[in-house]
Structure formats: C-alpha cells, structure tokens
C-alpha cells in the first residue's frame, strides 16, 4: 500500500469521496435552481458509489451508479421538466416563512450534534485493515436466494406494484 506522510491511499480516496459527497449534498439543498440541484444530486450519488468501491462493496457500487445515478436521476430530471412553471432560477427556493427555516435549521443542528456526540463517545471495534476484494457478489447471491428469498420476492412484488401504481397515478383517471 502506498503511504505518504501517514495517509494511506485508502484514506486519501475516502477523504476525496467524502468531500465530494458532502459538497454535492449541500448543493442539492442550497442551489436556487432545481436543475442544478438535480445535477448536484447525481454527483452526490457518484460520491457515495466511490465510498462503496472504497469499502470493497463493488457490486453495490455498480448498482448505485446504475440505479441511482442512472435511472432515478433521469426520472427526477424528467419530473422537474414536467412540472416547471416559473423561471429556472427561482424553482428551488427556501421556504419564505423564516420561522420554518429557523425551526428546520435548529432541529437539524441538534440532531447532528447528538449524532456526532454519540459517534464520538462510543467504543468502536479496532479498525480492520481493508484487504483485497471479497467475493461479495457470490455472498449476496447466496443470501438473496437462500435465507432472504422471501424478502427478495416481496421486493419484486413491491417494485411491480409501485411501477403499476406510478403509471396509473401519472396517467390520471379519466372522468366518465
């Protein structure tokens, strides 16, 4: 493993991916143009995919890129284009009620503080060295079609019902 000044390559990759993810996530909630927000969301998804790859979860990283950065972001951008009814620069405004923004910010700050305190005060197992790639695809396949096959089938039914429901909802009901 390449080491430079105590920072291994893994650490450098994590730092870069985490920085991209957090910056892009901030962009999602802070851009005033919702198209920029959506593109920023794609970047955040790719940053999370990089984190997965860095954690040796290659299959999940590929799924993340295919499903999130590919399918879901295209769906979101299509929906944005279908429902735009004002200039693009004013599509993603903060709530005009300052009390709402203040309450939201306070709740978020309190939750983040509590989470950071909980993470900092807990005892975590000693860091295991990230070794070469595990056979995650094989392990996932055995779990998915073995112990968790009922959940797998339920997820399949959920997806089918959700797609049919989405089509019916978006198509609208004809009044007879």
């Amino acid at each position: 493993m390449i080491e430079f000044s105590g920072l291994s390559l893994y650490d450098a990759v994590f730092t870069a991916a985490a920085g991209v993810t957090v910056t892009a996530a901030l962009g999602v909630v802070l851009f005033r143009n919702i198209i920029y927000s959506a593109l920023s969301l794609v970047l955040a998804f790719l940053g999370v995919a990089a984190i997965y790859f860095q954690l040796n979860a290659g299959f999940l990283g590929v799924i993340q890129i295919l499903v999130y950065a590919g399918a879901i972001s295209v769906l979101i951008i299509f929906a944005i284009m279908l429902v735009m009814n004002r200039p693009a620069g004013r599509t993603n405004l903060t709530s005009p009620r300052t009390r709402e923004v203040f309450t939201g910010g306070t709740i978020t700050a309190m939750m983040l503080t509590a989470l950071i305190a909980a993470i900092g005060l807990s005892d975590w197992p000693k860091t295991v060295l990230l070794k070469g790639a595990d056979d995650t695809v094989g392990m996932l396949a055995e779990l998915m079609l073995g112990d968790y096959v009922v959940a797998f089938e339920a997820a399949a039914i959920l997806l089918l019902v959700a797609v049919v429901g989405a089509i019916i909802l978006a198509k609208g009901v004809e009044n007879k």
Binding site: Y10, F14, T15, T21, V22, A25, L26, V28, V29, I34, S37, A38, L41, A44, F45, I51, L55, A57, L60, I63, Q64, V67, Y68, I72, I76, A79, V83, T91, N92, L93, T94, S95, P96, E100, G104, G105, I107, T108, M111, L115, I116, I119, G120, S122, K126, T127, T136, M139, L140, L143, A151, A155, L158, L159, A162, V163, A166, L169, A170, G172
Partner: protein, 102 residues
C-alpha cells in the same frame, strides 16, 4: 487511519443535510431529492458497519440492496404523485398542497 467512526460521521452529515432539505425546501421534487440523500446516508452506514463489524459476511450489503429497491419504488410513486397534483393545482409548492384539508 480511516475507521468506522469516519464513515458513520459521513453518514450523519449527509443525513442531516437531507433532513434540512426536507424541512426547509418548498418544492416537492426537492423534498423527494432530500429524502434520497437521507436513504443514501443510511446505506453508507449499512455498508460500513458490514465491513468493520461483520467481517466475512454480506448481510449489511444485502440490506442496502433492499433499501435501494424501496427507494426506487418510493421515488417512482412520489414523482407520479407530484405530477398528478401538478396537473390538478398547477403548482409544486408544498404550501399549496392542501388537497386533504377541508
């Protein structure tokens, strides 16, 4: 050396950004995007905990796959609802969504 707490910290920060977005945005699509951010933060935690605390198994990753499935279903139905409401009310501003009030 990067350990489990760093990943959990990243998850906490991304989740908080998502919560902030849900609480303060007024565009319904932006709220859905913030929900996606929160689900991603949860997935980071699952995969990291799997890597550091359940070495040699893939249960955490399996849960992440299921979270992704549910997120895909949620975003599809959510966006369909937004489009349906937009057709009725001509707006996606959450303050104008009061169809269930009488």
């Amino acid at each position: 050396m990067i350990g489990l707490p760093h990943y959990l910290l990243l998850g906490a920060v991304v989740f908080s950004i998502g919560v902030f977005g849900v609480l303060t945005r007024r565009n319904a699509v932006a709220v859905l995007m913030s929900v996606e951010l929160m689900l991603n933060a949860v997935n980071i935690n699952f995969v990291a905990a799997n890597k550091f605390m359940a070495v040699g198994t893939a249960v955490g990753q399996l849960f992440s796959v299921f979270v992704i499935v549910v997120a895909a279903a949620e975003i599809a139905v959510g966006l369909a609802l937004v489009i349906s409401i937009y057709r009725q009310r001509g707006t996606v501003d959450l303050h104008d969504f009061n169809l269930l009030k009488w």
